[in-house]
Each structure stands twice: as C-alpha cells, then as structure tokens.
C-alpha cells in the first residue's frame, strides 16, 4: 500500500486550523441522502478514517454507508461536530501528561476544563432529550457501524439510564427483543432467577 509514500493525505483532525479551507468528504446513506462533511468531523468515524487511510481513494467520490439512514447520520454528524468544538475548548497544555506547572501557564485552564465538562454535560443532556427509544437504538447501530467510540459510549450510558430501575418488560420492549423461550423454558428461567426479583422494589 505505502509505495514509499510517507505522506498521509489526512491531517490530524484536531490540528486542523479553523480558518483554512476545510476539505469535505462526501457520504451517501442507505436511503440515498448525500452529506458533505468537514474532513475533521468525518475522521471521527473510525470506518471512514480507515477507508481513506487504507486506500488512496479520491475524497470526491461519495463513500457509501449502506447501513446508516439519513436522519441517523445527520444526528451523528451534529454530535461529532459539537464534540470536536468542546474538545477544542481545552488548551492542549492541560492534557493529563502535562505537569501541573505547565498547566498553570494557560489562562485559568482548570476553569476551561470545568467549563468544557459543563458544556459537554448540557450538550449531551440536550442531545437525546427528544429522541425516542427507537431513535436512540438507530443511533447506536449507526455509531457502531461507523465505529465512533465516544458517541457509542455515551449512547450506551444513556440507554442504561433509560432502562435502569424499570421492569423487564420495559427493557424487552425497548430492545425489541422477541422472547424465544417456550412456556416451560420461560417458567424455568424465571424460577432460576427468582432470587433476583424478590425483596427488591421494582419501578
């Protein structure tokens, strides 16, 4: 693959200067929608990143995403864009490797970190506020397919929040799980897990 070509055509997304003309990558969803995404944002998608790193593929050809719908991709892009913005709020000196002495040189970096954390919290709470369970599931599938670790972790945590303290039926409906137990098997498994249901308050 690397025929003596050291140059990686894709710069580190975090270092991309905001003023420069941003390269865009074209993505095509399963339902035929075309998205032009800034390179920095598209590189957050593990799938896209490796696709463009492995092949010296021209960035102008739209990359097909057969398992992602337009609505899901649009939400994903929103998330990654905002996430990049928030990450850039923290000056690089406050990475965990830097000593505290270096960190002081920035202007109130701790405050910047705190502010960034707060922004992230608010943004994440707002992001899923109006999403139905179906939407969240679709986002998980998209994030999994596109290999976006940060988004996936966030979504998993959110799903856990939605189903915690709820009944088993709720979880079943949420995940759309078809029970595949025969009545006898069901009775058996229920009995096996009886201890997990007794003495515990259920919502």
């Amino acid at each position: 693959m690397a025929n003596g070509e050291n140059q990686n055509p894709n710069p580190n997304p975090i270092e991309a200067t905001p003023g420069a003309a941003a390269r865009t990558i074209t993505l095509k969803t399963a339902d035929g929608e075309i998205f032009e995404v800034e390179e920095a944002v598209a590189m957050e998608f593990g799938t896209v990143k490796s696709f463009f790193e492995d092949d010296a593929v021209s960035a102008t050809k739209p990359m097909p995403l057969p398992n992602v719908s337009g609505s899901a991709l649009s939400r994903v892009i929103t998330y990654c864009r905002r996430s990049l913005e928030i990450r850039s709020m923290i000056p690089p000196a406050t990475s965990e490797d830097a000593t505290a002495a270096e960190a002081v040189q920035g202007e109130g970096d701790l405050e910047a970190e705190k502010a960034a954390k707060q922004e992230r919290k608010e943004f994440e709470a707002e992001f899923l506020k109006d999403e139905s369970n179906e939407d969240v599931k679709e986002l998980i599938l998209a994030a999994n397919y596109l290999n976006i670790k940060e988004l996936l972790d966030f979504l998993c945590r959110s799903v856990a929040l939605r189903i915690q303290n709820k009944s088993v039926e709720y979880a079943r409906k949420f995940f759309g799980i078809e029970g595949d137990y025969t009545p006898e098997e069901e009775a058996q498994i229920r009995q096996e897990y009886a201890w997990a249901f007794e003495g515990v308050d259920e919502d």
Binding site: G108, Y181, A196, V200
Partner: protein
C-alpha cells in the same frame, strides 16, 4: 501469599486472557451467548475488510433483526452502566440474554432498592456464584454493614481480588468493617475507596499498582498512614474525608501528586501539618470542627491550591464568636504564609471572609506569588475588604476569576466596626501600584445574586480603572439571559451598560458579556 482458587476452575486458569470475556474458554458454560446463526449477522468492529463485508448486508434490515445484530460487546457496555440489580434481571429476556450479564466486568451493589436488609447479602452471594468474567474492572459494595456479616463480606472481597479487580470500593456505614489481611498485599488494584472500614495491617502494605486512594469516615493513625504510603509507590491521589484521630498529618510519598483533605469532626482540635515534598495540587475543603493549625511545610513543588474550607464552632454569644474568629485569623494567616509560592490559588468564601476581618482590623497578609487567582465570594459588603486584601497581596496575578456564590453568613459583630465604602476608598491609595500584571478577568454567577449588584459594580469599576494591561473581562451569566424573566433581563442589561461605560486605564481592554 497463598492463592486460594474460588469457584470454578476458569478463574484460576493460567490463561491470562482478559480481553474477550465471553471467549470460548468458558466451555462449561450453559449457554454460549454467541450462537452460530447470529455470527454471520454480527458486524465486525474492525473495518479493514470494509468493501467486501459491508456489501454483504445490503440495505437497511428490519428493525428487530438489526437490534440482534448488535455485537455482545455493545450490549455488555450497556449492561456495565447498569446497577447489578438491573443487569442480572436481563437474564429473563431471551436465550441470548440468559447469561450475558455474567460477563459484565463491573459489579455494583447497593442496598438502596432492597426492602429487607436480609435479602441483600443473599443477592450478592448469588451474583458472585454465577458471575463469569475473568477479570473485574470494578467492584463496589455499598450497604448498612453489621459485624455478623463479616465472614461473607470477606468472601466478597476475596472474590474481587481473585478477579484481579482494578477499582475496589467498600462503602459501609456506621459499623467498622475490618479489612481482611490479604487485601493489604495486592498487585492489581489501582483504585481503592473505603468508607467506614477499619484499616489495620498486621504486616507491610503492598499496593504496587495503587494510584488513587479515598478514605472516608474512618480512624486513621499516623503509623497506618505511613505503612500505606510506603507500600504504595505509585500513589498519585489521596483523599481523606472525615478521617479522625489524625491530629498531625505527615505525608511522606515520592509519588503523590494531589491531596484532598475534606472535613474533620472530633472533640479535640486538629493540628494539620502537611509535609509533602512532591505534591503539586492540594485541596482543603469542607467543615472543620476545631482546627488549631494548618500549615504546609516544605511543599516546594506545590503549584495549585484550593482552600475552600470553614472552621466551625458552636458559640453562644458575640464574645465567643469574636474569640473564635481571632483563632481563625491565626490559622488562615499561617496557612497563607506557607502558600506564598503557589501559582494557582482558589480561595473559598469563608477564607475570604476571614481575610476581610483581618483587613478590617488592619492586620497584614503575606505577599503571594500567585499568577492565577480564583475567589469564591458572595459579593456582600463584608467581602470587600477581603477582596481588596487578597488583590493587594497578589501583585503578580495575571488571571482573576470571581465566582459569585450563595452564602447565608451573618457576621453581626462586624457591623460595629465596619463601613465598607469608606474602607474601600481609603485603601485605594495603595492600589495604584497593584494589578500591574492583570490581563484577564472572568466573573461567573452574577445573575443569580442580583441583589449584590452594588458591591459587584464597585469591584468591576475598580478593576477597570486600575488594571493597566487588562486585555479582557468576561462576565458570564447565560442562565439569566436564557431563562430569566423579562424584568430581570432588563435590569441585567442596565447593569451591563453601566459597566461598559466605566473608564478603563488599559487601552486594549475588552469587556464581554457572552450569552
């Protein structure tokens, strides 16, 4: 150290495989969570085979089929965020889920939902019997302990350490659980969190991977602390919260970077002497019922300090209150003297009040080398002398952050000796030479404390007038502007306009209200 192997043979197997918890090592398991039909539909995480693998799937599949195409790792991530009570119950959902939860590398038990205390230990025991993950990332137990349960809790701890747990947390209440001796020698654990436990190692402590230690509500003797620090060569973070019997604290650790001291409640007053040559960050916060001394000796590496505590005392009359504050003045002065070289300082509202009192009595404060100063203040008239005094003591400060917070303090005896505006004006003559380096000012929280605007305006006016190299002043209160009622917003705008009209000695200064 003897290695007892608990439960099934898999756990003590020589295979060091820890990554894929549901790998085929576990042949003795009833249901293999990955049956072959699903494997074809499973989506691989790696995208190296991108072109070929993806096309196989075709267009978007049916809703339900797609959910079942989520790999186990995703489902496990979801289960990991659940409290163990919830994750266990997923066992009844379907065949695939029957034992999926047993591979979650995280166990969190809390007695919050248990109606009867007796059910809780049984629940924990049953979970541990079924659990299959080879390695635990965290193991947390929280409940109302009673000494009868000691043998069982010992077994739980043994279970966790055998699974090479990374983070172990025991939050027990009231009765002190005596930690089992084998726990003091553990090479895997990186984070320990003990509340209401009894720490009494017979021999040496060997926590070679320990990075974070939090001790809460327990008796801590100096010799035990010495053993702990000696045995934790990688310890970076130590938090001591409501730890008693500590009246003199010596921290000897080559690795410790951050120390947090939070609250103290004992009958005899605390004498705190912190001897920590490598520490970079220190926080003293909470309520201290009785503190005689608080000094940091030889903390030459200290860069960042937060002093956000309060020394409390019960007093019955104004005279006692005055005496109490006399003592506090001494404590605070000595403390600040040892913080002279600290570059980044956060001063809480109570300490600021004490500085105010000292200033009103014309007691001097030491000069600080602080470059970045944060003040938490309720912006009431009592705070002005403290603010003035602190600014006076910090001639090198480049960034000033003012965090306006709520406080319901009544310092009645101050009414007699204080007239704030005159005091402030009389000090102004000394201020001419200050604020030489101040470049940035950030003010948070003004909107919610609107009634303090007179003091606030005074301070802002002063800063603008005297900070000669000021580059920007940022006053943020998004809450008011987005959610506030129209009346409030109007008032706020009026104040903003007034602030913008003040004269500035720095030609480049920019005042911003980002919301």
């Amino acid at each position: 150290m003897e290695e007892e192997s608990y439960g099934s043979s898999e756990r003590s197997s020589t295979s060091s495989e820890e990554s894929a918890p549901y790998s085929t090592d576990n042949s003795s398991h009833a249901t293999n969570p990955m049956n072959s039909e699903e494997e074809e539909e499973e989506e691989e995480e790696s995208s190296d085979d991108y072109p070929s693998k993806r096309r196989k799937h075709g267009p978007i599949l049916e809703e339900e089929d797609r959910i079942s195409t989520l790999p186990d790792s995703i489902l496990l991530t979801i289960l990991s965020s659940l409290c163990t009570v919830d994750s266990v119950r997923t066992g009844v959902l379907s065949k695939r889920w029957a034992y999926l939860w047993t591979f979650v590398p995280s166990l969190r038990f809390t007695d919050y939902y248990f109606r009867h205390a007796a059910h809780y230990p049984n629940f924990v025991d049953n979970v541990l019997l079924l659990h299959r993950a080879l390695k635990l990332a965290n193991f947390a137990v929280q409940f109302e302990y009673n000494p009868e349960l000691k043998p069982r809790v010992d077994l739980w701890v043994r279970f966790a350490t055998t699974a090479k747990v990374d983070q172990l947390s025991l939050h027990l209440s009231s009765c002190f659980y005596k930690l089992p001796q084998h726990l003091y020698a553990n090479e895997f654990v990186s984070e320990l969190d003990f509340r209401a436990c009894e720490i009494k190692p017979n021999g040496l402590v060997r926590w070679s991977s320990l990075k974070r230690l939090c001790l809460w509500n327990l008796d801590l003797h100096q010799d035990v602390l010495n053993k702990v620090l000696l045995g934790s060569p990688r310890l970076e973070f130590l938090e001591l919260r409501n730890c008693d019997k500590l009246n003199r604290l010596d921290i000897v650790s080559e690795s410790l970077k951050k120390l947090v001291m939070d609250s103290y409640d004992e009958d005899y007053p605390l004498e705190l002497e912190i001897f920590a040559p490598k520490i970079e960050s220190l926080e003293i916060r909470g309520d201290f019922y009785g503190m005689k001394k608080c000094q940091i000796k030889n903390a030459s590496a200290l860069v960042e300090v937060r002093v956000d505590f309060e020394i409390r005392m019960e007093y019955e009359d104004e005279e006692q209150e005055e005496d109490h504050y006399k003592n506090c003045e001494n404590v605070v002065r000595e403390l600040f003297e040892s913080l002279r070289q600290v570059k980044k300082l956060i001063v809480g509202r109570w300490c600021l009040k004490v500085l105010s009192i000292m200033s009103m009595k014309h007691l001097s404060s030491p000069v600080l080398n602080c470059k970045c100063l944060t003040m938490k203040t309720s912006m009431e008239k009592w705070d002005l002398p403290g603010i003035a005094s602190l600014l006076q003591s910090s001639p090198y400060v480049e960034t000033l952050v003012i965090d306006i917070i709520f406080s319901n303090h009544d310092l009645e005896f101050l009414d007699r000796i204080y007239d704030e505006v005159n005091h402030w004006k009389s000090k102004e003559v000394y201020f001419k030479s200050l604020l030489q380096c101040l470049k940035t000012v950030k003010i948070f929280g003004f909107g919610e404390r609107f009634h303090t605007k007179d003091v606030f305006i005074l301070v802002v006016e002063f800063l603008l007038k005297n900070a000669k190299v000021l580059e920007k002043m940022v006053i943020t209160e998004p809450w008011v502007m987005q959610n506030g009622i129209h009346n409030m917003q109007l008032k706020f705008l009026q104040v903003s306009q007034k602030l913008l009209s003040f004269p500035r000695s720095s030609p480049h200064a920019v005042v911003m209200f980002p919301f």
